[in-house]
């Protein structure tokens, strides 16, 4: 998918300085321009294939993807049909899964097969992996032998593995070739990938022995041998490595591309930074969504699908809310006597919840980026407890004064202040220990921490405040 290009289209300004009329597709905010979108919609309604071919077909695949994302079902199908062979199927890798499936499922398998043949192997896998078993088989059978074998093998690698994301097109030469031979080969060979940034060095059994960056080739004189200038491969990615782990290696070592090798250390593909950027984006996205209690939903999902996907999280929260409520139920006699307690108790619980979510956010992210581990966790726990203690005192004083003035009762101020310190302390401990513990047991802390943490701060908050009040005012 990498193209490293500054332009894919005709130049906006030809050499003679005359401006070519070219519709502006993004506005100043970086959003799709409404006039352009209306123009496209109008052309689809009018079945004006010519306008679409001149104004939409030359766009970058991501721009076409953006447009597809903004059209409704009928418009999308119309656009694909009207563009025909000029539709750039790479755009399908740039849209939500729901939109992609919608478009692909409306196409006959022969058309998908024809499209797949035009795509880079990583993009083809991206589209094929979502299809059902039978369609996939049918499409693969319509492909030429070599491509079929390649794609079938890629699809056999586990979901979200390096093997699924890699490109199987690459340039490889033997170590005994000279720089001159390599350059001549690149100039004469027809079947090279569209873009590449390094040349791999392999032995006769396809085993990876090294790599050379293109700038190194260009800076070296022709008689020199490739093995003299190559680097040993230290960050080769095993084909079954999880894509997230591969992304971390790219990030740590600032790689632009890396060789992917099978269990026999044979070169089978190349993973490029642009695919990895998508993975990094996805993983951060996943953490945000999990912390917010939403799953893999997409903006294009239907009401029912969205509703269903959000119910489980709400259900878990209902159970913990009932648990917290039952703690309140233990003290109903006290509340009946001092109704101000009912007014103030959500403040104690809520502040604890907010403080805990601060600690939890920091902890979950530090775990995700591996900044937090066994060796510094003791220090971070100490820090969080210290912060909880200090902020507990700060807010205890504040709320104590407010409560005492509000209800003109100094005792109430003292009780809520004490409860606040206890709950902020519990919040700090819960906010760091719960994600750490979940992580230790192999559970993603982003997905489950929030429930446990708010349960702790609700239960402790209500129990401390109402318990202290019961003890003070009598049950």
């Amino acid at each position: 998918m990498a193209d490293n290009q500054l332009d894919h289209r005709a130049p906006a300004k030809p050499a003679d300085g005359e401006e070519i009329e070219r519709p502006e597709i993004y506005d100043e905010e970086g959003e799709l321009d409404s006039d352009f979108l209306d123009h496209v919609r109008g052309a689809i309604r009018a079945s004006d294939a010519e306008t679409l071919r001149s104004d939409v077909a030359p766009l970058h695949d991501s721009e076409l993807g953006d447009i597809l994302q903004h059209l409704d079902f009928d418009e999308r199908q119309g656009l694909v049909r009207l563009l025909g062979d000029d539709f750039d199927y790479t755009a399908l890798t740039q849209v939500d899964e729901a939109v992609r499936l919608e478009i692909v499922e409306a196409m006959p398998n022969e058309q998908i097969a024809a499209a797949v043949r035009e795509l880079d192997s990583d993009d083809a896998v991206y589209i094929l992996e979502d299809l059902d078993e039978n369609d996939r088989k049918d499409i693969l059978e319509q492909l030429p032998f070599r491509e079929r074998i390649r794609l079938r093998r890629a699809l056999e690698y586990p979901d979200e593995s390096a093997g699924r994301r890699m490109q199987t097109e690459f340039v490889a030469v033997p170590p005994f070739w000279t720089v001159g031979q390599t350059i001549d080969y690149l100039r004469d060979e027809e079947g090279l990938p569209d873009n590449f940034s390094q040349i791999f060095v392999i032995d006769p059994s396809f085993k990876l022995v090294g790599a050379v960056d293109l700038d190194r080739i260009l800076r070296t004189r022709r008689p020199e041998k490739v093995e003299e200038i190559m680097r040993e491969t230290r960050h080769a990615i095993p084909v079954d490595m999880d894509q997230e782990e591969a992304a971390q290696i790219f990030e740590q070592y600032d790689l632009l591309s890396a060789a992917v090798v099978d269990e026999n250390e044979r070169l089978v593909g190349v993973l490029t930074i642009d695919d990895v950027v998508d993975v990094i984006q996805q993983e951060a996205e996943e953490d945000i969504r999990r912390l917010g209690g939403v799953g893999d939903e997409e903006l294009s999902d239907s009401v029912l699908a969205t509703s269903r996907s959000r119910v489980p999280w709400l259900l878990v929260n209902l159970v913990t809310a009932i648990l917290a409520a039952s703690v309140i139920g233990l003290f109903d006699a006290t509340i009946e006597k001092v109704v101000a307690l009912a007014v103030l108790m959500p403040i104690v619980a809520g502040m604890g919840g907010n403080a805990a979510s601060q600690t939890m956010t920091v902890t979950v992210r530090a775990l995700a980026t591996r900044d937090l581990d066994l060796y510094n966790s003791a220090r971070i726990i100490r820090r969080e407890v210290g912060v909880g203690f200090i902020n507990g005192i700060v807010f205890a004083v504040l709320i104590g004064v407010v409560a005492a003035l509000w209800f003109r009762e100094a005792d109430l101020g003292g009780i809520i202040a004490a409860a606040m310190i206890i709950n902020m302390f519990a919040a700090a401990l819960g906010g760091i220990l719960i994600p750490l513990t979940l992580d230790r047991f192999g559970v993603d802390p982003a997905i489950a921490s929030a429930v446990f943490v708010t349960t702790v701060t609700d239960v402790v908050g209500f129990f401390a405040f109402l318990g202290l009040a019961t003890w003070w005012f009598g049950g």
Copy 2:
């Protein structure tokens, strides 16, 4: 910072198959190996410069950064001192700001100047931008003229702009050169950047006219002219563009590097994907932190600094919690009569808060990735309202039954069910309209949405539930 290298060190396995003893620095989890860390600590304590030079100096800058991050203050200073000239200052770009400042501030300015001279311009800027005015001036004055001018100019660009992140080292040739001339130039010229993936084409006034990828050069015969194979530059980045916007262009067009140009369209630098990956990571990180109510704190911050940075958010939440509590206060007479209301009311408010935070998370992210805009917001609002309505009914039935059985009072079940539907509906509306409105007014929705949204669900939740109960049971 890009190196696109598979290895920077001596090969782990030399050609004759004999393994070189090389300490393992990461364990299976991808965390720093404790034995290795102890080994480094021991060597620092023993002032064993030789061991450090052989085991730590050859590491990749990011690995050295990881180690620095895990050492305490004294150990860090010891390591830098013992490694002396073998310390790779690039590692300073890989650590938290607090750690970086700590190390740099302990160094005399002459030493910093010497370090800066060794670094790529983007890394040098990274270190210099955190220093105070006077130190920076002093250090710049100790640099050779050309470097001083370059760095001073880079530091004049706004914070977080493309100009700050770009590298000022690049390769540029005139359009009338042939491929052969270009290759000869690359072979003979000494002062080229360490790594590059494209060659820029400029006119005599340094105006950017195009670019050629290295693979294109390698595939083209010597007599052909560069202008025949170059691409026009469409995605040139203005030097004062915000780094986040630049990152979005990289992502959308799958760029590996892009030219940075000044207001006269003259080429002044190159922005590379590895710096952009850091930006993408940072921006996602920022959203997560803002949603969690934490600012720019880092793991290495002190207790007091952390505590202080978290107080403002908690203070805002205290005010909204008091507001919600005052709503409860309106109904104290009813609560005194039916104390079960006090037990159940946090459930209504809490479920609304959770449902709203689901909607809000999706909305905030969709705004950040520009998937949500004017043209589809109507559809998304309809969807969220639909989801809120359906889930409202689902949880109304559940909690209604639970409440009726728990307190053996059917009326109470009906009241809480009605309140739940109202609050889930308010949650859906608040969860989407609040971030959209903040965004329209130019406020980052990630930073402020949560407060407003929970205020809405708390106030509506308490008001609906207690209000309905007062109307039903009498005030």
